[in-house]
C-alpha cells in the first residue's frame, strides 16, 4: 500500500471578532547566526509543530538586536508559496536596512549578512489572543541567506546606507512562532536570547 502523508486543514476558516489581525511589525527584532542554535535542545509544542517552545543557543553564543526606523519597520517582509513538483514550499524574505556605512559596520554587519546563514525573530503587532502570535521565527528549517544587497549613495530612503534582503527558500512551514506558556514567559525567553 502506498504511503500517504496527509496534508489537511484541521479547523474552520473563520475569524474572531474580538481578535482581528492587525498589520505590521514592531521596530525591533533579533538575528541569530544559525550555526549558534542548539537544535538538539529545541523543544516544539506537542500539539502544534509550528510553535517553538524552547530555543536555546550553544554555550557562549547570543543573538543580536535588529532595530529599524520608520513608520513601517521591516517593510518588505513577506512569505510566498512556491509550487513544486511533488510538494509546495514557502519562501520567506526579510529586507534589513542598515543606516550606516563605516568600516566597523562593513566588517561586523554587512560582510556577515552577505555570506552567513541566519535565523531571525520578528515581533508581529498582532499578538494573538494569548500572545502566541507575536514572535515569528524565520530561517529555522532552511536558514536565511542574502539574496540581494545594495548600497546606493544617493538613495532617498537609506541616505547611502545598506539594504540586505535575507531569504529562506524551501521552507516546509508557512510560519513558525516562538511561544511558551504565556506572553510573559515568552517575552522573558526572547529577551534571554539577546546579546
Amino acid at each position: 500500500m502506498a504511503k500517504l502523508c496527509e496534508s489537511l486543514i484541521a479547523k474552520a476558516i473563520d475569524f474572531a471578532c474580538d481578535d482581528l489581525i492587525v498589520r505590521g511589525l514592531e521596530s525591533d527584532g533579533l538575528i541569530i547566526n544559525r550555526s549558534d542554535i542548539d537544535f538538539a535542545a529545541t523543544v516544539f509544542d506537542a500539539q502544534n509543530p509550528n510553535i517553538i517552545k524552547t530555543l536555546v543557543l550553544k554555550t557562549g553564543k547570543k543573538g543580536y538586536e535588529v532595530n529599524q526606523l520608520g513608520n513601517t519597520p521591516f517593510t518588505g517582509v513577506q512569505s510566498t508559496l512556491e509550487v513544486g513538483t511533488y510538494r509546495n514550499t514557502w519562501t520567506h524574505a526579510i529586507p534589513i536596512v542598515v543606516l550606516s556605512n563605516t568600516p566597523e559596520v562593513a566588517h561586523d554587519i554587512i560582510d556577515g549578512l552577505s555570506n552567513g546563514t541566519f535565523v531571525v525573530i520578528l515581533r508581529n503587532k498582532f499578538k494573538g489572543t494569548n500572545g502566541d502570535a507575536e514572535y515569528q521565527v524565520y530561517g529555522y528549517t532552511q536558514g536565511l541567506v542574502a539574496s540581494e544587497g545594495t548600497n546606493d549613495k544617493y538613495s532617498e530612503d537609506t541616505d547611502g546606507g545598506w539594504i540586505i534582503t535575507l531569504q529562506e527558500t524551501g521552507a516546509r512551514m508557512s510560519a513558525m512562532f516562538l511561544f511558551d506558556t504565556d506572553a510573559t514567559t515568552t517575552a522573558a525567553a526572547y529577551e534571554s536570547l539577546k546579546a
Binding site: 535542545a41 536555546v56 557562549g60 543573538g63 514567559t185 522573558a188 534571554s192 539577546k194
Partner: protein, 148 residues
C-alpha cells in the same frame, strides 16, 4: 550616577562613555553595546538611574550564567517564578540545579564547587523562598568555571 546625569546636556567624554559601558552590565545585568550614538549613552544613564531608584541597590552578582534562550520557569520550583540571567542569583541557581541536575547543560557558567561554597556550607535543605546569597558569596568568592 548623579554626576553623569548632570553632564548629559553635553556630549560625554571618552572616560564617561567607558564608565557607562562598565556600569551598565553591573546595574542592569545586560550587555552594553558601544556605539557612536550619543543618545545611546544618555539612554543608558537614564535606564541605570531608573533601575537604581526602583531597586535601591545594585544587581546582585551571580556566579552562574544560563545559556541564551534558556530561562527557569517551572510550576513546582519557586511557585513558577521566572528567572533569567537578569535576576538569577547564586542561591536560586544552586537550588534549581540540585532539584534538576539534568539541566546543567543549560548553563554555560557554573562555579566550581569548593568546601567554602554555599553548596557545601549550607547542609540544610533550603526552603521554597529565595534566601539572599550576598553574605555567603562575600565569604567565599566562587571560581567561575566556563563550560565548553
Amino acid at each position: 550616577m548623579e554626576e553623569l546625569r548632570g553632564r548629559m546636556s553635553a556630549p560625554f567624554s571618552i572616560e564617561d562613555k567607558q564608565l557607562i559601558a562598565r556600569l551598565y552590565p553591573e546595574i542592569t545585568g545586560r550587555t552594553f553595546h558601544k556605539t557612536a550614538c550619543r543618545r545611546c549613552y544618555q539612554d543608558a544613564v537614564i535606564e541605570m538611574a531608573v533601575k537604581l531608584r526602583k531597586d535601591q541597590k545594585m544587581k546582585e552578582k551571580c556566579n552562574y550564567h544560563m545559556r541564551a534562550g534558556f530561562i527557569i520557569r517551572c510550576g513546582d520550583f519557586d511557585d513558577g517564578e521566572i528567572y533569567t540571567n537578569a535576576n538569577l542569583t547564586d542561591d536560586v541557581a544552586r537550588r534549581y540545579l540540585e532539584r534538576f541536575p539534568n539541566k546543567r547543560d543549560m548553563f554555560d557558567v557554573i562555579p566550581e564547587e569548593t568546601a567554602e561554597t554555599p553548596a557545601e556550607a549550607d547542609n540544610e535543605p533550603s526552603e521554597a523562598s529565595v534566601q539572599p546569597s550576598g553574605e555567603k558569596a562575600a565569604k567565599a568568592p566562587a571560581k567561575r568555571k566556563k563550560r565548553k
